[in-house]
């Protein structure tokens, strides 16, 4: 899987970092998203799915490719 984040949509709510802390963090300055792993391992799939669903601005897209 490959994760794409639209930083212009990010409102720094942090649900992604809460759902998948190994994949998403929040920048210390203004709390906006920091993608730690654009192609995380399969065992993060559930957490990443939660992060996608719980992002209040739909800023995260999950692609099923490894490009």
């Amino acid at each position: 899987m490959r994760i794409e984040v639209d930083e212009t949509r990010c409102e720094a709510i942090g649900n992604c970092a809460a759902a998948a802390p190994a994949v998403f963090d929040q920048n210390d300055d203004d709390g906006t998203v920091v993608l730690l792993a654009a192609s995380p391992p399969e065992d993060e799939r559930d957490q990443v799915g939660q992060a996608v669903r719980r992002c209040p601005t739909s800023a995260i897209t999950l692609h099923e490719d490894a490009r």
Binding site: A12, I13, G14, A17, Q26, D28, G31, R53, T57
Partner: protein, 385 residues
């Protein structure tokens, strides 16, 4: 647009205070958006378009032309007084202090604050009012920590907050207390300017001291106090009231740490303390297929939107994750939501474990709910154990 009757600003059912007023369900069933008259203690009667469906509320709150506008009184430094670029500027100064990471870092502080509240409850004894001894002090003390209020000042700060946010004292008394609080906060800001501490105000002064004015700092402190107190306090009290009448679910919250995150989300969905979110259109907007003209007041019913769907009028802390709009949506979505979640996750199990036999000290029918207030909750919750 369908002309509708008057609904009280709290929008709760007379029969079950946790549920939406029947007028809201009627509006939700109707494809056409309803225009309602709202009697409000603060604003007199006003007219607004009420939005009740989940997708409609999201669309309205996420629409750039749906703004705070004049829907709330102006206060420098309060995020709800700003829109657009002015709002983003102020909000971005604060988001770094309200990350998930920060909420986790604050956990030990929250735990210690909760322990003190539990000690106070034990000391005041059986029959104590949980609202006064437990629910209100916890968020107040958390805000004290956030703002860098010194330990010596915390009790006074607590008392001031109680009076300031108590709608039962006279308006003059409330305003007098608000003025004193503002003077106190101005002093706090001055101290942080001199020696910035490790707290929200201090960090702002240190990182962006020349970008933000003193009056904005005071406004920010005031906003955090108001926004972070009523909401959390009432969710705590209402959650306890709900769990006491659902003992199977109470046991889940008390005994299963792996279930607490989901349980708190469900309680947030169900209680929806900020029942109605007011907005004003800056231009003509469309919600679904309907036009709302420029300058129109909108009331987004979080409560109704949270109930839209199968079986959602029932509290179920074991429910698989259910979407909700309790923290709002769009640019003004609750800044403190991760902190609020942390407070609830810590406080509820701690209370139920300290007092495993917790129960109401009065009959359920004696409880009175804040159905007329802007933030819903229970007025008092006398408990025993």
């Amino acid at each position: 647009m369908t002309e509708s009757k008057s609904i009280p600003i709290g929008g709760r059912s007379g029969e079950c205070p946790f549920g939406p007023a029947p007028e809201l369900y009627e509006a939700q069933k109707d494809d056409e958006l309803h225009r309602v008259k709202v009697p409000s203690p603060l604003l007199g009667e006003f007219e607004a378009v009420v939005v009740t469906r989940y997708e409609d509320v999201k669309a309205a709150l996420g629409n750039e032309q749906v703004r705070m506008g004049g829907s709330m009184p102006y206060q420098a430094g309060n995020l709800l007084s700003y829109d657009g670029a002015d709002h983003t500027r102020l909000r971005r100064m604060l988001t770094g202090s309200f990350t998930t990471k920060r909420a986790r870092e604050l956990r030990p502080t929250i735990e210690s604050i909760v322990e003190s509240a539990l000690d106070a409850l034990e000391e005041t004894g059986r029959g104590s009012d949980l609202v006064r001894v437990f629910s209100r002090p916890i968020p107040t003390q958390v805000i004290c920590a956030l703002l860098g209020v010194s330990y010596e000042d915390r009790e006074e700060f607590q008392c001031r907050t109680e009076i300031m946010l108590n709608f039962e004292v006279s308006r003059e008394e409330q305003m007098a207390e608000a003025a004193e609080m503002e003077a106190y906060l101005a002093g706090l800001v001055a101290r942080q300017r001199e020696r910035p501490g490790d707290n929200v105000l201090g960090n702002l002064v240190r990182d962006r001291g020349d970008e933000v004015t003193d009056s904005e700092l005071v406004g920010i402190a005031n906003m955090l106090l108001i926004a972070g107190h009523e909401t959390v306090a009432n969710t705590l009290s209402a959650s306890v009231a709900l769990l006491l009448r659902n003992p199977g679910q109470l046991a889940v919250v008390r005994d299963d740490p792996s279930a607490i995150e989901g349980a708190v989300e469900e309680l947030l969905r169900y209680v929806a303390p900020a029942t109605i979110l007011p907005r004003q259109t800056a231009e003509d907007v469309r919600v679904r297929d309907q036009e709302i003209e420029e300058g129109q007041l909108i009331l987004a019913s979080v409560l109704a939107a949270n109930r839209e769907g199968e079986d959602l009028d029932r509290l179920d802390v074991r429910r698989p994750p259910q979407r909700h709009l309790t923290f709002g949506y769009g640019p003004h979505q609750c800044l403190g939501q991760q902190l609020a979640r942390m407070e609830l996750r810590v406080a509820l199990p701690a209370l139920l474990n300290r007092f495993p036999q917790l129960r109401l000290a009065v009959g359920e029918e004696e409880l009175s709910y804040r159905t007329g207030a802007l933030v819903f909750g229970v007025n008092a919750l006398p408990v025993t154990w």
